[in-house]
Each structure stands twice: as C-alpha cells, then as structure tokens.
C-alpha cells in the first residue's frame, strides 16, 4: 500500500481550518490530521489531536506523525492590536515554522491578506507580491500579518529546505464567512468616504478554500496574491450588494476614528479612500490557479442571499433550539452509521454530495464563457 501523505491542519475548530480540513478529507491520497485546542464542531472524519500549536512538543508530534505538509490556519482575528492575539498569531507562527524546520516538514501553507500592502495614494493600480508591506498598524489582524510575513522573509533564507507558500487573499466575501467586508456590507450604519471611490478586489470564500487546498496538494512555493477576476469600484460593490453606505466627509471620518478607536468601522477608512489591488499575474501564470467566481458573480450571490435572509422571518428562540437539536440528532445518527459500516479507526474519505459537484461544474462553465 502506498503511504499517504500526511497533512496537518491547525485551527480546525475555526472557520478556515474546518473548511479546508473538510475539503482535504475528500482527497484520497492524503491523511489529514486536525490540531486545535478544542474539538471541531463537525469534524466527524478527521483524525483530531487536541493540543495548542505553541506547545513545545509540537516538534515531537510532527516527527512522530511524519507530517509532510503543515497548513497553518490558526489565527485570532482582532480589530484592535492586542497582546493576546499578537502572542497567538505571531509568536505562534514563529514556533510553528521553527518546529516545522526542526521536524523536517516539507511544506508549510500560510494564509495572509493583500491588505497588508496598505491603501496609499501613490499605489500602482496593481500591486505585485514584492511591493513593500505598508499597511497602517492600527488594525490588529493586519499588524500581526505584517509581522508574520516579515518573519517569513527571514525564515525562507534560513531554512530553504522548507517550502513556504503564502497566499495573500483580497477582501473575502461569501454567504457563510464573517470577514471585515461582510461585516461592512451587513452593517447598515457603516459609513464610507464622501467623494472617494477606489477600486476594490474581492475573492469568494469558496475560492479561498480552493486556493488553500490547491496549494496543499500541488508543489507551489512562493507568495501569491489571490483574488477574483474583475476588480470593481467600491460604489459598484455596495450598489450590487444592496448596501446603503452613508458618505462621510473624510476629515470627519478620520477624526471619528481617532476618537472612537479602530473598531469604529470593520475596515480602515484608508481602504475606502485609496485602492489596494493585488496584481494577479503570478496567480494565473505561476500558480496556475483560476478562481471559480468572478468578482461580480460573488457580489450578486451575496446580495441575493442577503435579500433572501431579510425576507424570511427570523426563527423564534424555541424554533432555533429545535433546529439545533435536530442538527445534533442528524449528526449523531450519521456518526453511528459510519461506525457500523466503516469502522472508527480509519478516517473515511467522504465524497462530496453530488449536488455540490454539479453546482461547481456549472460555475466553472459560466466562468469559461465569461472569460472568453
């Protein structure tokens, strides 16, 4: 029997870790290990280990399990720069990377953001991966990402045997994710700046998962910007998404931000003033990755779903409780069926439901047609 490649995903209890692990489980020649401090909510098929990635024994674990690829997705999102988040994100990543180098892990995948280039008046319309990381450091998550990426630059030269893939994603949009852009579009009072309309770039949550899985499966070291085709002006984005953004004169907005702190808005005002768009040439030519969603389609899908949610009546607490219990019963039933049919020792590669695959291929066709 051919030995399966061992992939360790940390942060599986989190949103991205959970989704990427779920998708990796469908790959037949991978053995997926999940790592987190608390068990994942629906990781029925995953080989789960409950531990903190900052544990000094991580090296032992990686050696013992012969981990080939480490997908580092544990990340504490914080608006305000906080010591706890910094300790977890930056120090955690440093520990993970050094443990990987020590244990002979071949590949490490990191998730980052194109926003770390910073929105600045002198920006080119398309920023290449070698653009300096100029983002303001008042947003916790971005500050941590810059620290991490700066550490990565040094790590690449120190440990060239570890192939590091850093994927920088644009604003993430989608029906289930809770990203700053989604918060901005959902929040009816979140303002934008009067008389500014920068070009913004987005990426669908599905494509984020796709890209992370793609980078895990294929051998693609390096740093890449990942975003959907078709960057659009902010006003077009809010218009399509059906959000009414109150325009605020920019000196007032910045004054408000300095008084009320950075969580005044989900996204820093600079990103509503200047464009910060990644150049996608490396994604197309070197990574050869093609996002399934066009930017406009992603926004339309989001808007349609938002409208749908607004029109369906909210569940009463009792109904919500019933729904929750029904989901738990279903899940337990599924697990029991798996135990009786397959056996608990080996994680079952779960095939994706057929409807999903059909939908995806339809999307791809759509993309083909539009791009021609």
């Amino acid at each position: 029997m051919i030995e399966k490649r061992v992939v360790l995903v940390d942060g599986v209890a989190g949103y991205w870790g959970g989704r990427v692990a779920e998708r990796l489980l469908t790959e037949p020649d991978l053995h997926v290990i999940g790592l987190d401090t608390k068990p994942p909510q629906q990781g029925s098929g995953i080989d789960f280990i409950q531990a903190d990635m900052r544990n000094t024994l991580l090296v032992e674990l990686l050696k013992e399990e012969k981990v080939h690829t480490y997908v580092h997705l544990a990340f504490l999102d914080s608006k305000r720069p906080s010591e706890t988040a910094f300790e977890f994100n930056v120090m955690g990543t440093m520990k993970v990377l050094s443990a990987c180098a020590e244990a002979g892990v071949k590949r490490v995948i990191l998730k980052s953001s194109t926003l770390i280039y910073g929105a600045q008046p002198g920006n080119s319309a398309f920023l290449r991966e070698d653009h300096p990381l100029n983002a303001k450091r008042n947003f916790g998550a971005l500050r941590d990402l810059i620290e991490i990426e700066n550490f990565c630059t040094g790590f690449r030269s120190q440990s060239p045997e570890v192939q590091l893939t850093v994927l920088r994603f644009a604003h993430i949009l989608g029906p289930t994710v809770d990203s700053p852009l989604v918060q901005f579009l959902r929040d009816d009072t979140a303002p934008m700046l009067l008389g500014f309309d920068p070009v913004v770039q987005i990426v669908h949550e599905e494509d984020v998962v796709n890209a992370l899985v793609y980078a895990t499966i294929y051998d693609v070291p390096g740093t890449y910007n990942i975003a959907a085709q078709g960057a659009m002006p902010l006003s077009k984005l809010t218009g399509l998404a059906g959000k009414f953004a109150v325009p605020v004169f920019h000196p007032i907005a910045y004054l408000g931000e300095s008084f009320l702190g950075s969580q005044f808005t989900p996204i820093d005002f600079d990103y509503f003033r200047y464009s910060c768009v990644g150049d996608l040439q490396r994604m197309r030519d070197d990574l050869e990755f093609k996002p399934a969603y066009l930017a406009e389609d992603a926004v339309r899908e989001f808007a349609a779903l938002r409208k749908h949610i607004a029109e369906t009546p909210a569940l009463t607490p009792q109904e919500a409780e019933e729904e929750r219990l029904r989901a738990v019963i279903e899940r337990r039933k599924n697990i029991r069926q798996q135990v009786t049919s397959g056996g608990p020792s080996r994680p079952q590669p779960r095939g994706r439901p057929e409807a999903d695959i059909v939908a995806e291929s339809a999307d791809n066709n759509l993309y083909e047609e539009k791009s021609q």
Binding site: G122, A125, F126, G195, P198, S235, G239, L240
Partner: protein, 424 residues
C-alpha cells in the same frame, strides 16, 4: 435601448398629426387621438394606391396643405376623399375594438384657445396660428412634454441603475458612461473656449503604443485633458489617451474618482509599463506638480524632468516618445506668488495667488480664454538600446535631457510664431 426608440416613434406621430388635413376631425368628432393613432398605423402599413397625393400632403405644414388641397384637380381630390373614407372606416373599427378608450384631455386647453380667440379676435387668431404654426398646436406641446418626460425618466433610470451598481468598468476603474457624460464639457473647452489648434496629429500612431511627454502648466491640469480631447476629437481613430497624474490627486475627494473613471491612472512606473504593454496611448507630465504650479514670470521654462521614470517606461516597453508642447495654458491663470502657509494648512502642494484668486473666490477660478496650440513633435524612437537599457543610468539621464530639449524647442518655435495670447 427601447427608450430612445419610443421617443422618435412618438415624435413622428405627433408631427404627422399636425399635418393632417382639417377634414379628418369632422367625422370622428372627439376622436382626435384616434386619428393620430390610425394615421400612425396607416403610415406603417402604407395602404392604398394613391401614394403621390399622400406624399404631397403629408410633409407640408398645417395651413398651406388645406389651401393646396382645395386647389387640387378632381382625380387627386377623389383620391384624397378615398383616403379620408378609409381612415374613417379604420377609426370606426378602432372604436368598436376599444369602446372605453377616450383620448387624454388636457384640462382647460379648449377654454384657453377660446379665450385667446376672444381676446385677439377670431381672424387675428387664425393669422397668428398660421404664423406660429406648430407652436400653437396643442399636439406639439404634448409631444414636447412627452419627450421631456421620457428624457427625465431615462436619466432617472440611469441614475437608479448606477446606484444599484449596474455598470461596467475596466480593470483600471475607467467608466465609459462617465467619460461620455463629461466629454461635451471638454469638447466645449477644446473647440470654443480655448480654440485649440493641434498640429502633428499624423505622428500619433493609429494603433499601438506611444508615450506623449508634455510640458505642464496652468495651475489646474487642464493641459492633460486638452491633449486627450485633441486625440479623441481630431485623430482619425479617435483614440483614448491615458493621462498619468501625480500621487497627490488621489487624496482629493471627487477629483480622484473622476480622474480614475475618465481612464487616468496614478503616475507610477508599473502602471505606465502595464498600459504601454497593452498598446495604449499614455501621456506623462514629467515636470509634475512643480511644473503646473509655475509662477507667471517663469512661464514656458521647463523645470526638472522628474527622475527619468518615463524614460525607463519607454525603454522597457520600447515605446516611441512623442514630445508635445502645449502653448497658451500658462496664461490661463497669472500666478504672481505662492502662499506656502495656506498650502500647508489646507494640505495642497502649492497655493497660487493670481490677480483674481483667491480675492474673487470661485469667480477667480474661471480661466482666461487664451488661444491654445498643441504641437506634437517628431517621435523619438526608444528601441535599439538593447535589453536592460532601462537600468543604464547614464543612458536614462541622457535621453531625459534629449526629450526635455525636444519639448523646449517645440515650445520656443510656437512662441516665436505666436503674435497674440488671445488670438494666437
């Protein structure tokens, strides 16, 4: 697409209604609108043999056609009667089909006409009517109202559509709808206000890349817009010019989105190379902010040409450079001094003091209607320097000086020919 079509169709309908002989009204009585409808449908189907008479009577204005009709010989008369008969039949059939229909009434219109007749007398009223023609015809005003209404509705729809994000931009953020909307203003400036004459348009390639290197002047960057207008309006291929603007402009509200939507881009080497690789026309103003904010006493003297970024762009993409001299823009504002203090306070790179600004407020911003000329010089080829030529500092600075000299020569030639600032 359907909106404008509707308008033109309706317009012809009302026009032809104005030209209908008066006899038609008698049999139908209240069916004024129906006559029009019927006539419109007739015009579309084009029934019956008597085509020559139809052609004769239709295009003629109201009063004269009545007179002409009475002088016609009998066969034509017969044909006309036949036509009227057919029309009336048609009207009756229409009436049967929709008995509930009544034409839209304008309240008080009939009363107004009667009152007017009472005041000026019936014969005088008819005289006025024959002179004023269509203007006194209620249908003219109905048509005008309809068209105005449609236009307003179309514009409201456009606005609403744009508010809902239903518009297209290219990857740079250029929006052709916005460009079309502002183009008439710049066309006015180009043709009427500054009466720009452009020479050397034949040196601008019909397809493929080229880099305009232009002197900068005039306090407000109208020179870029005028060069772009020149190529858009006068070049046989009506090409679009991408003007590169200084990185200070993106900090300005309203100005920065307008620039971007009109297809302009921030002046960075990456942007320029990308545009030139897409075979576009790019214009750069290497003097930058220092050039545009020149004092009046320093007019037409080129300042330092940046750091040679435009030469590197051209060398890397092997793009021919077209030196351009804009003459006339320097005199649009007479900058006597610059206030560093005010500039610092409001965050502008410079704040000009002219005889009218800031004393007259916004009135002082109106530029002088000087006579402009744009001269496009011989292209300077940038290929043949081999690869990595853009990293050769000596070559870059040499070529920068060469281009700067070419632009200065074009300016001097034009200034020597010019007799008057306002008449050229």
């Amino acid at each position: 697409m359907t909106e404008p079509k509707k308008i033109t169709r309706r317009r012809t309908r009302t026009r032809s209604a104005g030209a209908v002989p008066v006899e038609l009204k008698a049999p139908s009585g209240d069916g004024e609108g129906k006559v029009k409808k019927a006539l419109a449908s007739i015009a579309e189907i084009s029934v019956s043999p008597p085509e020559p008479s139809v052609e004769k009577t239709m295009p003629e204005p109201n009063g004269s056609s009545v007179a002409a009709a009475s002088e016609q010989e009998s066969p034509v008369d017969q044909l006309q009667q036949q036509l009227v008969q057919e029309l009336n039949d048609l009207i009756n059939r229409l009436k049967e089909l929709s008995p509930a229909f009544s034409p839209p009434q304008i309240p008080g219109a009939q009363g107004l006409i009667e009152a007017a007749q009472g005041i000026v007398g019936k014969t005088n009223f008819e005289k006025i009517r024959s002179v004023a023609g269509d203007l006194l015809d209620i249908d003219t005003w109905k048509g005008a109202w309809f068209i105005a209404n449609q236009t307003a509705q179309f514009q409201a729809n456009t606005l609403q559509r744009r508010l809902h994000g239903e518009y297209e931009t290219d990857e740079w953020g250029m929006d052709l709808e916005v460009l079309e909307a502002v183009a008439p203003f710049f066309e006015f400036l180009y043709r009427k206000y500054w009466r720009v004459t452009t020479t050397g348009l034949e040196r601008v390639p019909g397809t493929g890349r080229a880099l305009f290197v232009v002197n900068h002047s005039g306090q407000l960057p109208f020179d870029g817009a005028m060069l772009a207008s020149a190529i858009r309006l006068e070049h046989p291929n009506n090409r679009l010019v991408r003007t590169m603007f200084a990185s200070w402009f993106p900090t300005l509200p309203f100005v920065s989105p307008l620039f971007v939507k009109c297809g302009q881009v921030t002046a960075t080497e990456d942007n320029g190379i990308r545009l030139l690789e897409n075979d576009e026309l790019v214009s750069v103003f290497p003097e930058g902010i220092k050039g545009v904010g020149k004092l009046y006493k320093d007019r037409y003297q080129l300042v330092r040409f940046g750091r040679g970024g435009f030469i590197r762009m051209a060398l890397k993409t092997q793009t021919p450079i077209l030196p351009v001299a804009v003459v006339g823009a320097e005199e649009t504002y007479m900058s006597l001094a610059k206030s560093d203090l005010i500039a610092k306070i409001i965050g502008f790179p410079y704040f000009p003091i002219t005889p009218t600004f800031p004393w007259l407020g916004l009135l002082g911003v109106i530029p002088m209607p000087t006579k402009w000329s744009i001269d496009i010089g011989e292209p300077i080829p940038m290929d043949g320097y081999g690869p990595k030529a853009d990293q050769n500092l000596m070559l870059v600075s040499q070529l920068t000086d060469q281009v700067r000299g070419a632009v200065q020569k074009l300016i001097n030639d034009r200034l020597a020919q010019r007799k008057s600032v306002f008449r050229g």
